[in-house]
């Protein structure tokens, strides 16, 4: 800056009122940004955490007026919660597994084979995300009703698989495409069969991206509520669906808060896992960013 020649630029700056003001203004801006971000992101989370551990929270206190764990016991022993939690985990596992079985070979085909309509098919997976989900689900519900799939586990599995397609096709497709073919040719050249090339060269190279896609699919399925709500009523009640109904129908805020925290747990665990084992750029690379 202007003080490039000076031996003590900081002192110079401190003495110069114009520069000092400029610096203060810049720092003020960052402070304001941090505060805003805190209010928008951390604020709601803190509120939920406070409510989960609050026995009593009276206006106008900023923190609960009485802390305690009694609502945890009360919530987690509710019959609907003890039924919904294993159901949600099981459902997310099944959906992720089926989605992987369908999508991963498909993504390999998208990446490696040239067939008519390839680009069109690839873009078609955007369709489910391009329109309001709710409208889509309602029209699917009409079809499912005729097929007697409403209120059944297969119905919910089907609707949730639709949600996973984009992620499970696009990320692995990009990963397969990003592998330099000459890496595979080099393995073929030293004597590996095509199957071995796939197992020992291709697969290890796409594994980070595949794990990222699978993790994201599991987490997003675990939290999926709209499809499960519309197709699953009245028999299938997943955790997010249960949370909706508890928040909507109960006067006791703590139930919702406790369930929210319980719902955070799996994604927190998985994403921590992902951060350690999946390179950070894999997910963004999946979308060609």
């Amino acid at each position: 800056m202007a003080t490039l020649t000076s031996a003590t630029p900081t002192r110079e700056m401190a003495l110069n009122p114009t520069l000092l003001w400029k610096r203060m203004r810049r720092e003020l801006l960052s402070v304001v940004l941090v505060v805003v971000l805190f209010i928008v992101i951390i604020g709601p989370m803190l509120t939920v955490i406070f409510w989960a551990f609050a026995e009593q929270w009276r206006y106008p206190s900023l923190v609960p007026t009485k802390w305690g764990l009694s609502y945890w016991q009360e919530t987690l022993t509710r019959a609907d919660v003890t039924a919904a939690l294993p159901l949600s985990i099981g459902l997310a596992t099944i959906v992720t597994f089926l989605s992987a079985v369908i999508c991963l070979p498909a993504s390999y085909a998208f990446a490696r084979m040239n067939f008519p309509g390839r680009q069109g098919f690839l873009l078609s997976f955007l369709a489910t995300n391009a329109f309001p989900r709710f409208g889509l689900y309602v029209s699917i519900a009409v079809v499912f009703f005729r097929l007697n799939l409403i209120g059944t586990l297969p119905g919910v599995i089907l609707i949730q698989i639709v949600n996973t397609l984009l992620l499970m096709i696009w990320i692995p497709t990009a990963a397969f495409q990003n592998i330099d073919r000459s890496l595979e040719e080099a393995a073929l050249d030293v004597g590996a069969s095509r199957v071995r090339v796939f197992l020992q060269i291709t697969l290890p190279l796409v594994l980070p991206a595949l794990s990222a896609a699978i993790l994201l699919t599991f987490v997003s399925t675990f939290y999926e509520a709209q499809g499960a709500l519309i197709i699953g009523v009245p028999n299938i009640q997943t955790m997010p669906v249960l949370m909706y109904s508890i928040i909507n129908s109960q006067v006791i805020v703590q139930y919702g808060a406790v369930i929210s925290l319980v719902l955070w747990l799996p994604s927190l665990l998985l994403l921590t896992f992902a951060q350690r084992f999946v390179r950070g750029n894999t997910i963004s690379a999946g979308f060609g960013v």
């Binding site: 330099d180 000459s182 890496l183 040719e185 080099a186 393995a187 073929l188 050249d189 030293v190 004597g191 590996a192 069969s193 071995r196 020992q200 060269i201 290890p204 190279l205």
Partner: protein, 394 residues
């Protein structure tokens, strides 16, 4: 150790398109180092990939030691390839990269350990076993790739522009190392490149390709001295090329005449090619026959360290003088020559090749003429130019 034969090798990528490789026939001897040289898109890489098994020929045969391998996939051919791109497997350490192929062939562990060690030593990377490819420089990666290819003791080593991604100095160094290794282990090697300097310095023989055709297969010195086609003449080294016509026994180049039309049939569509070092030059004098001695003005004089490159404008030499840059005569002079920009100069070619549509090129040596200072030259080292003469004329 092995020989390689390509017989009528042809590759078409689409049924109605021109062939990417057209009817290539060549034999490579045991322990020979052959370079396939050509501009990008000439089919040289496709030819190499057909030898390695990565492309299926449309027609023709590839024989190694007399046995056809054309039906075999790459993993069952006795060839090993070093690719242009860095192809070390990023999830394996250097040791595992090199050992991968041997493990597939069920080589005992102690042999693998020994061979990997030897291979790394050969490429000058002892102690690199436990590194990952991402921890290596580009040059080191290509050395490991070479070790990976050689450790399997292939009959034919294939190299597809392996050093083209490296910077110039490293490229020259690796080229020299490769040359030494190939000489030591006496392996038959096919090296594809678009860099003529690389080809000239590495190869026992060079196969020049253009537009899918094999233009010339010869030793480097022959390729340089007697390029068989106008393409090779233009592509290899620096060449002055003129259009010419024939009248009786003499050739007309623009307003100038050259002798040596004996054996030339047809009178149009002739081309004359002159190497920049094949000129005799001196200060112009009035006694020179005006149609035989070319007269020009030095447009640019570039000191290239060990010699001087001089660009001369010779009016009336090129038929079409619209593009001035392309139509300057390129002449190499010894460093000591006092050739200043703007100096007048008289010169004529002492050796040139005449190309016709139908016949082999005809070499003409033209030593009858003398410049004012009686300079005659056959190569750069024997050139002695009177600097006085040139200076006086300026």
């Amino acid at each position: 150790m092995a020989t390689l034969e390509l017989i009528g090798l042809t590759k078409k990528f689409a049924a109605n398109n021109a062939a990417a490789v057209h009817d290539v026939n060549l034999n490579v001897g045991d322990g020979e180092f052959l370079c396939i040289l050509g501009p990008s898109g000439c089919g040289k890489s496709t030819t190499l990939r057909m030898i390695g098994g990565f492309e299926e020929p449309t027609a023709g045969d590839v024989r190694i030691d007399g046995q056809s391998v054309v039906e075999l996939p790459p993993n069952r051919r006795p060839t090993a390839m070093v690719f242009q791109k860095y192809t070390l497997w990023p999830h394996m350490r250097v040791f595992d990269n090199i050992a991968f192929g041997m493990r597939l062939h069920h080589v005992p562990k102690e042999h693998i350990d020994r061979d990997v060690k030897n291979a790394l030593q050969m490429v000058g990377l002892s102690g690199y076993e436990q590194r990952y490819p991402s921890q290596l420089s580009g040059g080191e990666q290509q050395r490991v790739a070479l070790a990976r290819a050689l450790v399997l003791q292939p009959k034919i080593l294939l190299l597809d522009e392996p050093f083209s991604n490296l910077d110039a100095l490293l490229r020259v160094r690796l080229r020299e190392e490769l040359h030494a290794i190939q000489r030591r282990i006496q392996i038959t090697a096919i090296f594809v490149t678009h860099d003529q300097e690389e080809a000239l310095s590495l190869a026992d023989r060079i196969a020049v390709m253009n537009a899918g055709h094999l233009e010339q297969l010869d030793q480097p010195s022959q390729i340089y001295a007697y390029p068989k086609t106008l393409f090779v003449a233009d592509f290899i080294g620096v060449m002055n090329i003129f259009n010419a016509t024939r009248t009786g026994d003499s050739l007309r180049v623009g307003q100038y005449a050259l002798k040596g039309a004996t054996g030339v049939r047809g009178d149009s569509n002739l081309s004359i090619a002159v190497r920049p070092e094949d000129f005799t030059f001196g200060a112009p004098t009035d006694s020179h026959n005006s149609t035989e001695m070319w007269r020009g003005v030095i447009d640019q004089s570039i000191d290239l360290g060990h010699y001087r490159k001089v660009l001369v404008v010779v009016p009336g030499l090129f038929e079409n003088e619209t593009t001035a840059l392309a139509h300057r005569l390129k002449v190499y002079m010894p460093k000591s020559a006092d050739a200043k920009e703007g100096d007048s100069i008289a010169l004529y070619p002492t050796r040139y090749l005449v190309y016709t549509d139908h016949t082999q090129p005809i070499e003409v040596r033209n030593q009858a003429l003398r410049t004012s200072d009686e300079t005659r030259r056959d190569d750069l080292s024997s050139v002695a130019v009177s600097s006085d003469a040139l200076a006086n004329s300026g």
